[in-house]
């Protein structure tokens, strides 16, 4: 296995599929909120309020799930428009309450279903990107496993973007990339090599802020690092915070 292949395998491993366990390791007092309060509740997006080291935060995460039922329900962690609406609803709540936002990402991309498409998948992603860039509270994103396409970006227009050593962030999933470039999704391995979706390369391009060794989750040091980072962000002047967030993307 090449480095890229082993990173992809690690990013897609079952250990990362259940984000509830990761939330438990990082946060306390998690209270899950349900529904977009318009048409539905998408199980691929988990959102709620919690505490990080005793301070309140809002958390939004994509969930793949371990059981077959869960994976069918979440479409392997691919949100539908209702999921993005739920996410935006909780982000707006966080802004109102002045809570920092944590997003935990593990999604191959937005769900490519017919109903999702017809009910405005593209339009919801466009809206969430636009709104996230305006939120007056700090946003910290941790890419846990996969982060593919606009479906991931809609949760990652953040002040700090961190990636686990075994995680990937790309314009599209390797399968989708191969399907577009060569009309054959089976050439995903060839695609992955060309796509430069690994954390070390992305860090060199300043597309992310930090690479996290896998053991930082279990030994508690990730929680400490997140607490420190959010503490620093929360003490910044809001206009400065927004300016820095904008400048980060402006450089590309």
């Amino acid at each position: 296995m090449t480095d890229t292949q082993s990173i992809i395998a690690g990013a897609r491993s079952d250990r990362k599929a259940n984000v509830y366990e990761i939330i438990d390791q990082l946060l306390t007092d998690f209270y899950e909120l349900h529904g977009d309060h318009i048409v539905g509740d998408d199980p691929a997006v988990i959102a709620g309020l919690a505490k990080l080291s005793g301070f309140p935060v809002a958390v939004i995460a994509t969930q793949k799930g371990n059981s077959l039922e869960d994976r069918m329900a979440t479409h392997f962690g691919s949100p539908e428009p209702a999921g993005y609406r739920k996410s935006l609803r909780v982000m707006k709540l966080a802004e109102k309450l002045n809570f920092p936002i944590i997003t935990l990402i593990n999604t191959p991309g937005a769900y490519p279903g017919a109903d999702a498409e017809a009910s405005g998948q593209g339009q919801m992603i466009a809206k969430n990107i636009s709104e996230m860039l305006k939120l007056k509270v700090p946003i910290l994103t941790v890419i846990i496993g996969e982060a593919g396409s606009g479906g991931a970006l809609a949760l990652a227009c953040s002040d700090q973007i961190w990636m686990f050593e075994n995680s990937m962030y790309s314009v599209l999933s390797p399968e989708g990339f191969a399907s577009i470039m060569w009309k054959d999704a089976h050439l995903a391995d060839k695609a992955a090599k060309l796509m430069r979706l690994t954390p070390d390369w992305l860090l060199k391009q300043h597309a992310i802020h930090r690479v996290i060794p896998e053991n930082m989750l279990t030994d508690g040091s990730l929680k400490t690092a997140m607490t420190g980072a959010i503490h620093d962000l929360a003490h910044q002047d809001v206009s400065k915070l927004l300016k820095k967030r904008a400048d980060f993307f402006r450089r590309f």
């Binding site: 593209g122 577009i180 979706l197």
Partner: protein
């Protein structure tokens, strides 16, 4: 000779005759509409390049589109060119080919235009430049257009056409969506109007960012407007979708588009809208 043999001889002869005569017709004289598949003499599409049967507007270069809109245009940022940020194999060759086909450095033209007497910042994406895909160079040009429009207090009119993110630019392409969205936000925060005109095709990351962030959204008849490619959706749900699944006519019914306007009518409609959007406001000093 039996009847069957007669038919066989006759048909093979007519096929070869047909081929013989077809070879004498210069290509491009007889055209087929990709939407309704009607065939017609090319001149019937007229100066606006529209199918005389169904009204579908053929994909045209950004320069040709500009001619259909206005004669008064001052172009901005003509030199922006991709730096091939992911060093993708063979990408430079593909870029050169697209550049000679469209006479553009990358897939958009931007500048200050006068449309029906109103000054605007105008952007036109080129569907013939690597499918109008969004990369660093056209992304930067669109961003600067919104920034200049904000500085110069101009409304933006942007004609979108794109196959989505430019795969060869990887994460850099994805980041354009956030970069341009931020410029759209700043333009909006200055109280300035943004009109998008959805052309065929507008898809992927462009739909999932600035094409869907306008205040008023117009579209050309029969244009394709969607996020995920139809083939991918069909494979996901294991079901065939109707041909018009992602037509702007359907988007209009679902509430994502304000009006579908024929290509010929677009300048006039923009003028109508701009006359309201740019009218002197209540309480403004003389």
């Amino acid at each position: 000779m039996s009847l069957g043999e007669h038919v066989k001889r006759f048909s093979s002869r007519s096929v070869s005759m047909l081929k013989h005569y077809q070879a004498k017709v210069p290509s491009g004289i007889w055209q087929e509409c990709p939407h309704c598949h009607a065939s017609f003499y090319f001149k019937r599409a007229g100066q606006y390049r529209v199918c005389p049967e169904c009204g579908y507007g053929f994909r045209v270069t950004a320069h040709r589109r500009l001619k259909m809109l206005t004669k008064q245009f001052e172009e901005w940022d003509t030199d922006l060119e991709t730096k091939d940020p992911t060093e993708f194999p063979d990408y430079d060759r593909k870029i050169k080919k697209a550049q000679s086909a469209t006479h553009l450095k990358d897939g958009v033209i931007t500048g200050r235009a006068i449309i029906e007497d109103y000054p605007v910042a105008l952007g036109i994406m080129d569907p013939l430049f690597i499918m109008g895909s969004l990369g660093t160079a056209n992304g930067e040009r669109i961003t600067r257009m919104f920034e200049k429009a904000t500085d110069q207090q101009l409304p933006v009119v942007l004609f979108t056409a794109s196959g989505g993110a430019r795969m060869q630019e990887g994460i850099y392409s994805l980041m354009q969506m956030a970069k341009i969205s931020q410029a759209v936000n700043n333009h909006a925060a200055a109280g300035l109007a943004y009109i998008a005109v959805i052309m065929d095709p507008t898809t992927g990351g462009v739909t999932a960012s600035f094409a869907s962030q306008a205040d008023i959204t117009l579209a050309e008849p029969k244009a394709l407007f969607g996020f995920t490619g139809k083939r991918v959706i069909e494979q996901t749900i294991n079901k065939q979708l109707p041909d018009d699944f992602q037509s702007v006519e359907n988007s209009y019914k679902r509430g994502f588009i304000d009006e579908i306007v024929s290509r010929e009518e677009i300048p006039h409609r923009l003028g109508q809208l701009l006359s309201i959007l740019e009218a002197k406001k209540w309480g403004d000093a003389k």
